[in-house]
Every structure is written in C-alpha cells, then in structure tokens.
C-alpha cells in the first residue's frame, strides 16, 4: 500500500451511515450476483449444490434482495446531510467534471495526469452513482413482478426479466471498474480503506477532492496542509 508515503494525518471522509450503507450494498450485491449466477449461465451450475440447490439459491437471492433495498434508507436515516449532498452533487455538472474524465483516462492507464479540482464526489464517482441508481431501480423494480408474478399482468412480468437482465449487466460492468479502482488501482486505493474505516489520508483527500477539502479547512474541520508545509519549510 502506498499509505506509507503520506504524513499519517487522517481526515474523516465517510460517516458511519455511509460506511454501513455501502457495506450492506456491496455485500448484498455480491450475494445476489453469486446466487443468481447459475440461473444466468450454465457455467456456474456447480454453484447449485453449494447454495443448497435451486431452492436454496432462490431463497438466499430473495433474502439478499431485501437487504439490497435497505442501503438508501440506512444512509438517509443515519446521515441525512451526507445523503442530500450526494443528491445535490449528482445533479450538479460543471466544466471541471468533463475535464476530470480526460485526466482520469491517463491516470487509469498509469500515464502522467493532472488533478482537476473536485468536490466531495468526483465526476467518475458521480457517473458511477448515477448508473448504480438507474440499475438499482431497474433491478429492484423488475424484481417485484418476478417474485410476485400473480400480482402483475403477464406482459409486465415478461418485460421484468429483460429489465432485470439489462440492469444487472450494466451494474456488474460498472462494479468491476469500481472495484478495480478501489482495490487495485494505486491512486484510488486510499478510498477503499476510507469506505471501510471512514477516514482517509489528508493529503490524498486534498489531491483528489480539493474543493471539498478546502471547504472543510475553511470550516476548521480539517488541517490546512499548505500552512503546515510552509511552517515546516520555515522552521
């Protein structure tokens, strides 16, 4: 890990509400993915005995489906301010968000790149959030007619299978990228520990989310790294 290169100063990035909601979302998403895999493709039929047969897989899929619906409410109840900021940032798009992507492609493939000032959520995270929201609506919305086909017209149930598939296909493609960035890609990795502990290295936060960091410094919540640096130089 690259943490050793940081000064060791940590700042609070994620609230407990976010950490729990994110964990429930991640765990239930993967549990849903695994319990559905043998139904999606025959390559994974060997999972049936592991999951307690088709009936066991189906039961687990439904239990985790309920868990998958809860993160929004967990975050909203435990950290309404953070949740609202997320909502607000998702609908706010500026020039810097577009610039972010040109630099991000360089960063992703390991080339030299420039940090474009970002707020709490960078443009990539915003796109990830928007796609995940859209796919969650598709997946959850279509899950109901699939679970309770008797309550819906036949055509709705038939199209629900399509929506469930499209939602899942999009979600998994985005999730693969999301996980790669958090766990493998060096520059983003501190975000991974951050989403588990809530804290991230101050320097990393300042680099990646400069606008947000500076706002918090102004409020007196975070240390002013530039000031500290100047002090060190002067001493």
């Amino acid at each position: 890990m690259s943490n050793t290169q940081y000064s060791g100063v940590k700042v609070k990035r994620f609230s407990m509400g976010f950490v729990i909601a994110h964990a429930v979302n991640a765990i239930s998403f993967f549990a849903l993915y695994i319990t559905a895999l043998p139904m999606y493709t025959e390559w994974f039929d060997w999972l049936y005995p592991v999951l307690g047969g088709p009936e066991g897989a189906r039961l687990l899929h439904r239990i985790f489906a309920i868990a998958f619906v809860t993160p929004t409410f967990i975050w909203l109840i435990m950290d309404p301010k953070g949740f609202l900021r997320w909502g607000k940032e998702l609908v706010t798009w500026k020039k810097r968000d577009i610039q972010f992507f040109t630099e991000f492609v360089k960063e992703l493939f390991g080339f030299k790149f420039k940090h474009v000032k970002q707020t709490f959520f960078n443009a990539g995270e915003k796109i990830n959030s928007l796609i995940q929201i859209a796919t969650a609506i598709l997946i959850i919305g279509s899950g109901f007619p699939m679970w309770f086909p008797d309550l819906f017209p036949k055509a709705v149930v038939q199209w629900a299978y399509v929506a469930h598939n499209v939602g899942f296909g999009l979600a998994i493609a985005v999730v693969v990228g999301h996980i790669y960035l958090s766990v493998i890609h060096k520059n983003s990795r501190p975000g991974y520990t951050g989403v588990i502990t809530g804290d991230v290295p101050a320097e990393w936060a300042k680099d990646h989310y400069t606008e947000w960091y500076e706002e918090e410094v102004e409020k007196g919540n975070f240390p002013d790294l530039d000031k500290n640096k100047n002090k060190k130089k002067g001493a």
Binding site: V166, G169, I184
Partner: protein, 275 residues
C-alpha cells in the same frame, strides 16, 4: 428424422374425455379434484398434473344457433418455442420428433417457461423430497415421447374413438387438415387450420370450427418480444460487456505496470508529487 404432428379435428370430437383419462393413466398423473366450473368442463385449463383438458364451449353461431364446441387442449409443441428460448437450464428442449419436452433432472423450477408460454400451457408442479423439502418442476404434455420412441402413438390419439385425433408425419397431417377444412367449410364458414406462424408453426395442429378466440386461443400467438430482446440481445450483450470491462481493466493494470513503475503519476499545480 421426419417431424411428427398431432392433428386434432375438433369437429369430430364428441367430448367423451377419454383422451383426458388416457393421458392421466399413461403418464401416471395424480387426480386433481376441482370445484364446479359452471359447465361440463372439469378443469379451467391444463395444469402441471393435468396435461390434457377437454374444453366445452357454448357458442352462438352467426345464425344465432347454439353450438356446443369441444376442444382437446394440451401443449402445442411449438416449432419456435418460447419456453425453450427462455429456459436458463436447457431443461426445455426439442425432441427428435419435433415436440417440446422438459428434462426434469435439469429443471430448477424457475418458472420462466410458465411466464413466457403464449398458450399458458406450462405450469409448475410442487413435489416433496424424502426430507419434506418442497421443490418445483415444470410439467406439461410430453406428446407421450416414451410411447413414440417405442413406435406407438400418443395415448390420447390411440384412445380417441371418433378419430378426431391422428398422429403422423408433418406433411401427411397438414394434407389431411387441408382436406378436412374444405369438407366442413359449408357447415362452418369460420373454420380454419390453427398452426400459428408466430411460433413457427406447432406440432399439435387443429382444424377449428370457429375463430381461435371462440376456443379461448390467441388469434396470433408469438414468441414474446420481451423473450427475444432478453435472450437474443440483453443477455449476450451483458456477457460481452462484462468481458469488455474486465479486459479494459486488465489493460489498465498492465499499462500501469509498464508506464507507472514508481507508483507516481500525477503533476501538481504547485506542491510536491505523491500518490
């Protein structure tokens, strides 16, 4: 192997229901006592344990006369079967005779076939294993494939005493249907051969005395568009997308190893460089 068709001439049927009994008997299907349906008809529709139901329809013809119509109903064994298309386990399959069957060992009881059959023929049967655990399997008419394999005819066909049902090669049965249609057109001006194109034709074809809707049949059944979008487009594209993102990230990982050996990469707008 030549494809085989069950040909049903409803105008010859006298509603004796021997086909229902023969089907239950040969396939060892449990009795399903039903509430009174309001007519002589015993079951509202075919079910997972009643693969063959005789419908009784009281119909007022164009001249205002009452006509009592009968129809032997069971699986249509579509040439382009929606159940086969949507089955995730390849449990629904085509037999050598062209009919459609369920492989019970492969069926996981997901019910996708039930939701997508344009004729509402497939149903899930509930069973209990020796530990008392319940499980489901799709069930429907098998066209008595076990009899066909032995050179016999479907049980319903064999037992039909009015010859309303016959079983033979596709060509022979279609010829028979056309001939019969021309014979009954005077008596039944709305008569038609029911062998819907939307499902590629079926392996149970009917000569109907009236329009399909009179018999509770869809006029133009087809493989649901949703099933085509789902299986022919959404699923393959989904698999491709997962592959594509995975490959892009493998590329990103390799490229990072090649071009970003020190683990550094960004330029600061003033200030030192660090990760």
């Amino acid at each position: 192997m030549a494809e085989y068709i069950k040909y049903v001439d409803v105008t010859k049927c006298d509603g004796c229901r021997a086909c229902m009994v023969a089907c239950k008997n040969w396939n060892d299907l449990p009795a399903e006592p039903e509430e009174f349906q309001g007519s002589v008809q015993s079951h509202a529709n075919v079910t997972a344990n009643t693969w063959n139901v005789l419908s009784f329809i009281e119909h007022e013809d164009s001249k205002g006369n009452l006509d009592y119509l009968f129809r032997h109903s069971s699986c249509f064994h579509c040439t382009d079967a929606a159940c086969v298309k949507v089955c995730p386990e390849e449990a629904m399959h085509y037999t050598d005779f062209g009919s459609v069957n369920v492989d019970s060992d492969k069926c996981v009881g997901c019910g996708y076939c039930v939701q997508n059959c344009p004729f509402d023929v497939v149903q899930l049967a509930t069973y209990k294993d020796k530990n008392g655990k319940e499980y489901k399997k799709a069930q429907k008419c098998t066209m008595c494939v076990d009899r066909l394999e032995e050179g016999m005819q479907p049980a319903c066909v064999t037992t039909c005493h009015t010859d309303a049902m016959e079983f033979g090669t596709q060509e022979e049965m279609l010829k028979k249907a056309k001939k019969r249609l021309s014979e009954i057109k005077d008596k039944y001006p709305n008569a038609m051969i029911y062998n819907p194109e939307g499902v590629g034709g079926t392996h149970t074809i009917y000569v109907l005395a009236e329009k399909p809707s009179v018999y509770g049949l869809p006029e133009k059944p087809k493989v649901p568009t949703s099933a085509v979008v789902w299986k022919d487009y959404a699923q393959p594209i989904g698999k491709m997308m997962l592959g594509a993102t995975s490959m892009a990230l493998v590329g990103a990982f390799v490229s990072n190893k090649l071009f970003n050996k020190e683990g550094k990469g960004h330029e600061e707008d003033g200030g030192g460089s660090h990760e």
